[in-house]
Symmetry: C2
Subunit: 110 residues, 2 copies
Amino acid sequence: MGSVSIPFDVLAEPTRRRILDLLLERPRLVGELTEHLGLSQPGTSKHLRVLREAGLVRVRAEAQRRWYELRPEPLREVDAWLAPYRGLWGTSLDALERHLDAMPDEMEEP
Amino acid sequence: MGSVSIPFDVLAEPTRRRILDLLLERPRLVGELTEHLGLSQPGTSKHLRVLREAGLVRVRAEAQRRWYELRPEPLREVDAWLAPYRGLWGTSLDALERHLDAMPDEMEEP
DNA sequence: AGGCTATATACCCGCAACGGCATGTATGGT
DNA sequence: ACCATACATGCCGTTGCGGGTATATAGCCT
């Protein structure tokens, strides 16, 4: 609880992003993920724990198996953070020009 | 060079995100950023170095001053990674349902 | 019950990141 | 020339993360 902060740090890990990409196709078992990642099983579990605590995945227990499934909600915050930047690329050349245009003399703060 | 990898790790740092947010408004001097961040000046410079190497900011030298300005291009890759996930939130309840629907028996990989 | 399977947890290690202080370097001002 | 300003870099200490191995836990199967 307390996952108000954007899960950028969770997504910073390439392995964890790969896990999410794999779960994007379909839910998977830990063993399956482990195999795909070329990682030790505990290593995989650890990443899954982080993802779980970030609310990015959910677990469904079936006997001893654990089906991990995607939970994209937290990615909303990433999307939200990205929003003001979106549209800045590709519009003209860069954001610079307009900025340099909009600050001719007022650059000292009170 | 070699910034093919998505700059998630760079964005994982809250301070660096704050810097980008500040630069979103207008270009700023290092001292100005330092003040806003409540951080030591060298600390700020180091973060700026990371952002620079990630191509997320650009520097314009004016005498001894350095104007740091935003360069949003690399955020495109973040946006691109996010793309397949976008639309998964809010559509129905979750992505789970459809997944659980689409894998009744084929769960073993070839 | 015993053993096998599937996953989680505990512990340890190595390394890289963040922060601070001290110092280097360049430019301006006087 | 000298000192101040603005920033970068170097070095250090601490901390946290990612990975591995060993071990616990839980549920099947015979």
